[in-house]
């Protein structure tokens, strides 16, 4: 490793802070990380701000305002490696639900003086504006995966972040499938792993927090659910969650409108 500690910056765009909290939540690991890297810019956690350029930039949140667009371009310029963390940064987040509605109407309803609001009509992922080196999925992200990605980049190796279905993790753990054994609708077969099959491990169907997996066949899953009594409206809502604007989920929910 270099004598100079790699400089890391953490940025926030439109988001709930949950993913940054996952980083703070990794307290023990963070202490170890703090010894190896220099967290130079992390306004959420520290007042200390070392100027860029940075070796790694972690970006949370989606782009929702013209100002965000300017800012993400500046961020890209000051980071050698740019990693997006979470569903907002990677797919537009839950706030991307507005992409199906009229934002002007929302601002009229919500704000007393809507003329002061400057906003884009859609919430979009970081990758729509700048090149992203690695997209870490999840709402929120899994802290162990975040550490894995940081460590992998520091050691110049490929991160062990698989892109297959949640079902594989279910089976590795020895879970009994909730779809087959209970008839509970589950998005696991089309969802990207990362959570360790959290919901199915507690007898719940998967909500799709990590977005579509690498070869998601959403229409086949929908067809099966419809055969088993789901309505088109239910399917539309099922795919319109935290990753509503991720392409595979967006197309699927649109097809049930």
């Amino acid at each position: 490793m270099n004598a100079r500690k790699p400089k890391v910056a953490v940025y926030k765009f439109a988001s709930c802070d949950g993913c940054q909290l996952s980083l703070l939540d990794a307290e023990e690991e963070l202490l170890a990380i703090a010894g190896t890297i220099d967290i130079s810019y992390f306004p959420e956690a520290s007042r200390r701000m070392v100027r860029g350029p940075y070796d790694i930039g972690l970006v949370e949140g989606s782009v929702t305002t013209p100002h965000d667009v300017e800012r993400i371009r500046a961020v890209r310029k000051e980071c050698r490696t740019l990693i997006t963390i979470g569903a907002c940064a990677t797919a537009g987040g839950i706030q991307a639900l507005r992409n199906w509605k009229d934002v002007k109407e929302f601002t009229r309803i919500v704000y007393a003086n809507p003329e002061h609001i400057s906003t884009l009509d859609r919430s979009l992922p970081i990758g729509s504006f700048v090149h992203v080196d690695f997209e870490l999925r999840g709402c929120p992200i899994n802290k162990f995966q975040l550490i894995e990605v940081i460590v992998a980049y520091l050691h110049k190796r490929k991160p062990n972040i698989p892109t297959h279905s949640v079902c594989i993790d279910c089976k590795l753990k020895g879970n009994v499938c909730v779809m087959v054994a209970n008839g509970t609708p589950c998005l696991g077969p089309v969802t990207h792993v990362g959570c360790g099959a959290l919901c199915p491990s507690y007898q719940r169907g998967c909500y799709g927090c990590y977005g579509p997996m690498d070869s998601a066949n959403t229409s086949a899953l929908s067809a099966h659910m419809i055969e088993h009594g789901a309505t088109k409206h239910e399917l539309m809502l099922m795919f319109r969650g935290f990753n509503a604007y991720a392409e595979a989920f967006r197309r699927e929910s649109d097809s049930h409108e």
Binding site: H155, R157, P162, G174, M179, A181, H224
Partner: protein, 379 residues
């Protein structure tokens, strides 16, 4: 043949435990019958059965108190002999050199006694033996677990809705390779097990379990139960020329049809008792002075599986489903001298959208016959 009374069944379990075995048997968990550590017959699925169809599994109450009145569940013994995650080694950097440490859990894995191994499952274990302990290659993590395992097989006295062991010639009667084999006889005021000893180890254990010799009628009852099971298979698979069928239909339009329905979720390969693919992951810690190498189950259905330098040799869903079925039913025969399918039906029951390997094979055959007919009549 011997007869062990139900009330003496716990003595079998304690005899195995006393010999140092970790005893694994069927147990009800999360609405299914899984394989778990058991301490006594009360841990067993007493009076439970299952109803299985494609993409459906439901537990149901039986009218009796049978211990083995169910068909195979979501798990197989694979998870004990070939665990889903195994730490292979760790590496510690020591100055300019490094030290490789093997993992203790691999040198001294638990010594397992499996109670309730069905005929298809025993056949699946024999198939995995060919994969993990052949003349050319032997996998130490498998070999140790397998050599020390004690197998109490159970003849099936009912067939599941997705079973087709008769077609695959793998059941329902267990043949060889067990230490003890039981047939449960329950009803009309009796509840006992007709037992067969298959090894010296089995004979030793039998000495400690109260039993009497089975007379011809006692053994006959058990035989009849197993014969009846064979008559009631939930599925059949036509295996005539199956190897040629698959090899000659690489370009069949039917693969596109399956690919439209298949989720690429890999559940079928995870639940299959013969599927043996794994991947190896290396991970370093922050300091870079310590690394671990882990092996975990993988599947030919994942996108990563076919990724090599320069590209992916199986990027389409169609190619991945075709690979699975062609390996299972055809190239496996060339590779290991037997089919990779033992007809347990798990891939049918546990496929979330109910893709049925017997139906797919049949559809491929129909398609193939139709195309041949068109060719011969010059259409």
């Amino acid at each position: 043949m011997f007869i062990i009374q139900r009330r003496d069944f716990d003595i079998l379990i304690s005899a195995l435990k006393q010999r140092g075995y970790t005893v694994v048997g069927p147990a009800v968990r999360d609405n299914a019958i899984v394989y778990d550590e058991v301490n006594s017959a009360s841990d067993f699925p007493v009076g439970w059965t299952d109803e299985q169809e494609k993409a459906t599994y439901r537990l149901k109450r039986r009218a009796d108190e049978a211990l083995f009145g169910y068909s195979v569940g979501p798990q197989s013994w694979k998870r004990f002999l070939f665990p889903s995650h195994v730490k292979l080694l760790s590496v510690v950097k020591k100055g300019k050199t490094m030290e490789i440490q093997s993992d203790a859990s691999n040198e001294k894995p638990p010594q397992y006694a499996f109670i309730g191994v069905r005929s298809c499952e025993l056949n699946a274990i024999v198939i995995q033996d060919k994969v993990f302990m052949n003349e050319q290659f032997s996998d130490p993590t498998y070999v140790l677990r397998r050599h020390n395992a004690f197998i109490v097989a159970v003849n099936c006295t009912q067939s599941g809705g997705t079973c087709f062991c008769v077609s695959m010639n793998t059941g329902p009667r267990v043949k060889g390779k067990f230490d003890l084999a039981l047939t449960e006889v329950v009803g009309n005021g009796v509840h006992h097990f007709v037992a067969e000893v298959g090894s010296d180890k089995g004979a030793e254990v039998m000495k400690e379990v109260p039993h009497k010799n089975a007379d011809a009628s006692g053994a006959g009852v058990a035989e009849k139960l197993v014969d009846a099971t064979a008559q009631h298979m939930g599925r059949t698979m036509n295996t005539d020329g199956i190897k040629e069928l698959l090899f000659n239909n690489i370009d069949s339009a039917h693969w596109d049809d399956v690919a439209r329905r298949c989720l690429m979720c890999a559940n079928c390969t995870m639940v299959c008792p013969t599927c043996f693919c794994s991947t190896v992951e290396d991970a370093t810690d922050l300091s870079g002075d310590y690394a671990e190498r882990w092996r975990r189950w993988d599947s030919c259905f994942t996108m990563d599986f076919g990724k090599v330098t320069g590209g992916n040799f199986r990027p389409s869903s169609k190619a991945r489903y075709r690979q699975w079925m062609t390996h299972k039913l055809a190239s496996w025969i060339n590779q290991f001298g037997a089919s990779g399918c033992v007809g347990c039906g798990r891939c049918i029951t546990w496929c979330p959208v109910g893709i049925d390997i017997t139906a797919e094979a049949e559809a491929l055959r129909k398609n193939s016959v139709r195309i041949e007919a068109e060719h011969s009549t010059g259409v």
